[in-house]
């Protein structure tokens, strides 16, 4: 059985002033096709939402787009890989402080899939992001979605300066399930987006 683990950047210093917004989706409420459309609606909403809280000196359009891109990729991945046989919702959380914006998504997967994903993440973190993007694109030329997977996460790191972290945890209510939580942190004090 896989034990609880964290990879990448995980955990932030407690902020005195933190505001957050949580969106939750039940796997039973709508089929994937129908749900897909809502990913864009939710992602655009979060992008618009953060814009209202940003200080004037930050490039609003850049941050709005970065949040919308990350939220959309997180939701797409969660919808694709979430274990739909159990009543565990997909959760998306947006957290704002004066220094950073953190987006986290959590979904449930089986233990074998969790181990494969953990190994994939560990491998991704051990290599140069720019080189990996090129390698993924070259592999993706064969047309398979699997070989193209990971490009969204790599794009977040490479194009948006996002720091990613992962937490794999056992599910107390469903011993046969793991919860994977992915976190993306955008630094506002020195954002890539405002460069």
């Amino acid at each position: 059985m896989m034990t609880n683990q964290t990879l990448g950047r995980w955990g932030r210093p407690p902020a005195r002033q933190c505001e957050y917004l949580v969106v939750s989706f039940s796997p039973f409420s709508a089929p994937l096709r129908q749900r897909w459309r809502n990913n864009g609606v939710s992602a655009d909403f979060l992008g618009d939402y953060v814009k209202a809280f940003l200080p004037a000196e930050i490039n609003h359009a850049e941050i709005q787009h970065a949040v919308a891109f990350v939220a959309n990729e997180f939701l797409e991945n969660a919808m694709k890989y979430h274990e739909c046989s159990v009543d565990i919702p997909i959760g998306l959380r947006l957290e704002l402080t004066s220094e950073e914006i953190a987006l986290t998504v959590s979904n449930s997967i089986g233990p074998a899939q969790a181990e494969r994903y953990r190994d994939f993440v560990a491998n991704m973190l051990s290599q140069d992001t720019g080189d990996l993007i090129l390698a993924r694109m070259e592999q993706g030329a064969d047309g398979s979605d699997e070989s193209a997977s990971g490009l969204g996460l790599l794009t977040m790191m490479s194009d948006y300066g996002v720091e990613l972290g992962w937490r794999f945890e056992a599910q107390p209510d469903y011993p046969e399930m793991m919860t994977v939580t992915t976190s993306a942190v955008l630094n506002l004090t020195n954002p890539e987006g405002a460069a």
């Binding site: 897909w36 959309n72 694709k80 720019g130 070259e138 194009d159």
Partner: protein, 115 residues
Amino acid sequence: MKTITGESFEVRTEEGRNVVFFKGALRLSGSEDYAPILEMLKGTLSEPVATVLVDLRDLDFLNSSGITMLSRFVIEARDRTGIDLHFVVSEAIPWHLRSLKNLQRLMPALKIRLN
């Protein structure tokens, strides 16, 4: 003129002109859904041509599956001889220049026009 439309996007090409215009937000779910658009793009490579233009100026959003689709097209163009490929992008849309630099690494001869 050939057009592919969805709820939030439009992709069109004009007969006899090797130009493909993108508009809106593209968030299709994978290579199968992107296949018709990739075919339209590859159609611009079917005859010996001097210049191929991909106009992204009105494309506000592209998910990672869409970036993968563009990279497949760029690899196809790169692997044929004599293709002069241009992407037309907008400075006002944050992802354009950032994400296209990776495509340019795939095909160094790719030209990016800022408009």
